[in-house]
């Protein structure tokens, strides 16, 4: 009661100050014809979505026996049950989200749109070609050949595309039109604004298997006549941007677009590199085209890696052992070189600060996005308790355990937008007011400023004050007022994932799996900075549950999360080591209580309990030790992984944990010293004069 009284008093003290907090952020510009949403929050709300999903319109998804087109993927994202392929290629598996997404961008590989149309439509030219005959006979093997063609330094389309790729260009229009129609059908243009679809594709640059992929996402239905592939642009993303500039931004019909790079972890350092001669104009262009980067997806985490520029113990989370997309060569043991520092975003953000000092602008001012990279037409299928596998017939159930065990269900992108429309979400992505989650759905809000009240956590108007007296996640801090002597203040508040609950009237054919959300364990602020001594980082724990023990957070029999920690956490933190002469970035990482990893659920489904090693080993003895006739591992060898999972956080990427802490990462805020900023604008003005 005393606590409540103090709280009420502090609120009353704050009220006069909050009376001036009436400066809501401006709404998104309207670029499409549609009715406004009933739910229109001036101070914005979190919208859960994803930016990276493939359907049967991707050549490699076809090779994995995925048969679900974009319309199915949207139905899944909206919470409807769909049938997907099983290991034998039949459409028998049921998949359904327990909670629909608010929005999704489908991003099929634009390479081979034309070829897929040609090889699948008997009336199309090239249908009878050798290429198409091979593809139809063995799509898996042939698509690997196509994919290998993408690893060339100058990728060339298959011969069926004729000189200049003209035939395939023409044929690609069929799928491109179908993608647009599916997006239109899925988009809720009524005032209910229940779901937003985005037209997009994935541009698949991967010279030497080093991932340089970009997801290209369009703001509205006004899109170029046809999608661009690496066959049109070469492997150079600058050519992609140049063509998008001409064919979208300068086309004069209201087209707008951005690109999102992903899987720095599989790029061998080639995703975030600067071309020779990069200057300030390049840096500005890059950060404009690419406001976001994927920090997590099904094929691993790209935030950081323990031992690669950091000693942060949380950087062992969902790491892959591979340097690039050439998984095969690595498993043969040919790849044992160290990881490139700029394969991971935290290091790239530091590099951005360093480049800002030399170029006059930060080329890597990247906010965070998350996606699944599903190749099974399952956008947003990130629930560890109901993971269907990323790769078509390679399922995450016992049959496919080993094929998927190093992968994870993927991540989500959460945008803070005033309403659930394309314009509002797109602008949120552009201004980086986003956070990514490793798949769960906590709500996280962050503001940074010089004069944010230290008592903001007890304010009833956290967001109003945050916008009025600070900047949201993804922004650059305003100049420090002359009368302020302390470092920047970061206010961060998080609420637990509420989880999902079975409806009283489930849809016919429903197969969703419902479960409660996990409590919050702690909030950290990660600071990175660059000075004359080099690049630095430090992790500050700024809020922590009063029960700091992680014991008992999971019911080891059922994997159900136990409520032992916090439903909400909040902190207003002032950087104690601030040096006003040094550029820095800050982002928040919110860690939930540990929960079962998806592979633990799968092992339990097979009667093998990773939490009880003796029983697990005993039961494993009942599995056949006989390798299949065609070669490969015996069931006992496959499932032995269930009995060797490690109990705690993973450091070595060869280890699979029983439990892990799902998390969220806010887009950073950046501080640039006034002197540096002035110097760069002076340079600009003298260059103009010159």
């Amino acid at each position: 009661m005393r606590h409540a009284a103090i709280l009420s008093l502090s609120v009353l003290v704050l009220i006069p100050m909050l009376a001036t907090a009436e400066n809501p952020p401006p709404p998104a510009k309207l670029t499409e014809q549609r009715v406004g949403c009933e739910n229109n929050q001036k101070l914005r709300r979190p919208l859960f979505g994803e930016t990276h999903a493939h359907t049967s319109y991707s050549f490699d998804a076809v090779s994995l026996n995925t048969k679900n087109p974009p319309s199915d993927a949207y139905n899944y994202a909206k919470g409807h049950p769909i049938k997907i392929t099983d290991p034998l290629g039949a459409q028998t598996r049921c998949a359904q989200l327990a909670r629909p997404l608010d929005w999704a961008a489908l991003t099929d590989h634009s390479e081979f749109f034309g070829e897929l149309t040609m090889c699948g439509t008997s009336t199309a030219p090239g249908y009878d070609s050798e290429t198409c005959q091979k593809f139809r006979a063995n799509p898996g093997a042939e698509s690997e050949v196509w994919g290998m063609g993408l690893t060339a330094s100058t990728p060339q389309p298959p011969v069926i595309c004729a000189p200049g790729n003209e035939t395939c260009h023409q044929q690609s229009l069929t799928l491109w039109k179908s993608i647009q129609e599916a997006a239109e059908m899925a988009y809720d243009r009524t005032a209910a604004c229940k779901f937003t679809s985005f037209i997009g594709y994935e541009w698949t640059s991967m010279p030497g298997y080093n991932n340089r992929h970009r997801n290209v996402i369009f703001r509205n239905e006004k899109v170029p006549v046809r999608p661009l592939s690496v066959f049109d642009t070469s492997n150079d993303e600058q050519h992609l941007w140049a063509r998008l500039q001409t064919e979208c931004l300068d086309a004069g019909h209201g087209c707008d677009v951005l690109t999102i790079p992903h899987n720095g972890n599989l790029s061998d350092g080639n995703l975030y590199t600067l071309p020779a001669g990069a200057d300030k104009a390049y840096a500005v262009k890059r950060s404009t085209w690419e406001p976001l980067s994927e920090i997590q997806q099904g094929k691993g985490n790209s935030e950081c890696r323990t031992g690669v520029g950091t000693t942060d113990p949380e950087c062992g989370f969902e790491q892959l052992k591979y340097h690039n997309l050439n998984f095969v060569s690595f498993t043969r043991g040919t790849d044992d070189k160290p990881f490139a520092p700029n394969a991971f975003l935290r290091n790239v953000l530091k590099e951005g600060l360093a480049k800002e000092g030399t170029l006059g602008a930060n080329p890597f001012q990247l906010g965070f996005a998350g996606g699944t990279d599903t190749h099974s037409a399952l956008p947003g299928g990130t629930d560890e308790g109901n993971f269907q596998g990323l790769h078509g017939y390679q399922t995450a159930d016992p049959q496919g355990l080993l094929s998927q065990v190093e992968f994870n269900p993927g991540a989500l992108t959460v945008v803070w937008a005033e309403q659930n429309t394309r314009d509002a979400i797109f602008e949120a992505m552009r201004r980086r007011e986003t956070y990514a989650t490793s798949g769960s759905r906590p709500t996280v809000r962050l503001f940074a400023g010089w004069n944010l009240p230290e008592g903001l956590c007890t304010s009833p108007d956290f967001a109003a004050v945050g916008y009025d007296q600070g900047v949201p996640m993804g922004s650059s801090l305003r100049d420090r007022p002359a009368d302020v002597t302390h470092g920047p203040r970061i206010a961060v508040m998080a609420m637990k994932d509420p989880g999902s609950q079975a409806p009283a009237d489930p849809q016919p054919g429903s197969c969703a799996v419902y479960k409660p959300g996990a409590d919050l364990q702690r909030i950290e602020i990660i600071k990175g900075w660059v000075d004359a001594q080099g690049m630095h980082e430090r992790v500050f724990t700024v809020a922590q549950s009063s029960n700091s023990s992680l014991a008992g957070t999971v019911n080891t029999a059922t994997c159900a999360p136990q409520s032992t920690n916090s439903a909400t956490l909040c902190s207003v933190w002032t950087d104690p080591e601030f040096n006003s002469a040094v550029s820095a970035f800050y982002y928040a990482r919110v860690l939930e209580n540990p929960t079962c990893r998806w592979s633990t659920y799968t092992c339990k489904e097979s009667g093998l309990d990773p939490f009880n090693v003796p029983a697990c080993q005993q039961h494993l003895e009942t599995y056949s030790n006989q390798a299949p006739a065609g070669g490969g591992l015996s069931p006992r060898e496959i499932f032995s992984i269930c009995c060797t999972m490690v109990p705690g956080p993973v450091v070595q990427p060869t280890e699979i944990p029983r439990i892990e802490q799902q998390r969220a990462w806010t887009s950073p805020v950046w501080y640039t010293p006034v002197v540096a900023a002035k110097k760069s604008s002076a340079k600009k003005s003298s260059a103009k004069k010159g």
Binding site: A4, V35, Q41, S56, R99, M185
Partner: protein, 305 residues
């Protein structure tokens, strides 16, 4: 020169023919590789003359011919078998068989037709059938619908285009973290105070704890609430009475005392807001109807022979 009297027997012995037959069989067995989205040809399908005395609403008499056979025959009748893809395929077959290495494309095409490949080659047959399907489904220009058609579609698919229930509320939040075991007691006491004191929704929120999403919801649908508060809260709030303090309602974060300002029942969407979706749906339906009608007339014509 080819001895055409011996050609059929010689052909049967050719490994190439075996390959073609096997290939054809495989072709027919193939499952859809990529979604077959119709390519609208630049020609219109000629109408099938309907038998004058018959009512189109009657079920057509059964024919022994399959749909594919009917479509194939019609394709030949209107000359689709003369089109370039067929020519290319037949020439390709002949080159593969190496019967006449010196012949040009025109001559090989003539020879292929003479042998009867245009009738027996499964790829050609499939091509012609699919081409007919596309032609039968395609219209002569962009699909245009009247306002009445669009309105009728909306009316007959009202459930698909219903707007959800909306609710607008203010809540006083009690944090489970801050209040621990006392939360239920605090909630009961505060609810009594709100009711007894006739405390307005504007004045009440500071009496509770701060909430990340604020205290005034604006107009929100149930699905908007589920993401932050949880499904149970969303369900319960939608049932509360207007204009009184209710609760406590549990969420993932604690308890809430709720004042409902307004609820709006489900209502159908306005045509203007779902027009593009209805146009796409109607276009698909119209293509299906066109094809069904075309096939029906073909069948009737076949039966009347």
């Amino acid at each position: 020169m080819i001895d055409w009297r011996k050609a059929p027997r010689a052909l049967v012995r050719q490994p190439g023919v075996h390959f073609l037959l096997l290939g054809g069989a495989l072709f027919l067995l193939r499952a859809g590789i990529a979604p077959p989205v119709p390519r609208v040809a630049a020609r219109a399908v000629p109408p099938v003359e309907a038998p004058r005395a018959k009512n189109l609403s009657e079920a057509p008499p059964k024919s022994r011919l399959t749909d594919d056979e009917l479509l194939y025959r019609e394709a030949v009748k209107i000359g689709l078998d003369q089109e370039k893809p067929v020519q290319r395929r037949l020439v390709q077959n002949m080159r593969f068989l190496q019967i006449d290495k010196n012949a040009g494309d025109g001559e090989l095409y003539r020879q292929a037709r003479e042998i009867g490949f245009d009738r027996t080659d499964p790829v050609v047959r499939r091509f012609l059938v699919e081409q007919m399907r596309l032609l039968a489904r395609a219209g002569t220009g962009p699909e245009v619908f009247t306002e009445a058609e669009l309105g009728n579609y909306l009316e007959s698919h009202q459930e698909q285009f219903m707007l959800p229930v909306f609710v607008n509320f203010t809540h006083v939040y009690l944090s489970s973290d801050r209040r621990g075991k006392a939360i239920e007691r605090d909630a009961r006491r505060l609810l009594a105070r709100l009711r007894a004191g006739h405390i307005s929704p504007e004045a009440a929120p500071p009496l509770g704890d701060p909430f990340l999403m604020g205290h005034h919801s604006g107009m929100v649908a149930k699905s908007d609430l589920e993401g932050v508060y949880g499904a149970g809260f969303a369900l319960e709030v939608a049932r509360l009475p207007v204009g009184v303090w209710s609760g406590p309602v549990a969420s993932a974060q604690g308890l809430h005392l709720v004042w409902i300002h307004e609820t709006r029942e489900r209502e159908p969407a306005k045509l203007a807001d779902v027009r593009s979706q209805i146009v796409l749906a109607l276009a698909g339906e119209r293509r299906d109807v066109r094809y069904a009608e075309y096939l029906r007339r073909l069948r009737e014509k076949e039966s009347s022979r």
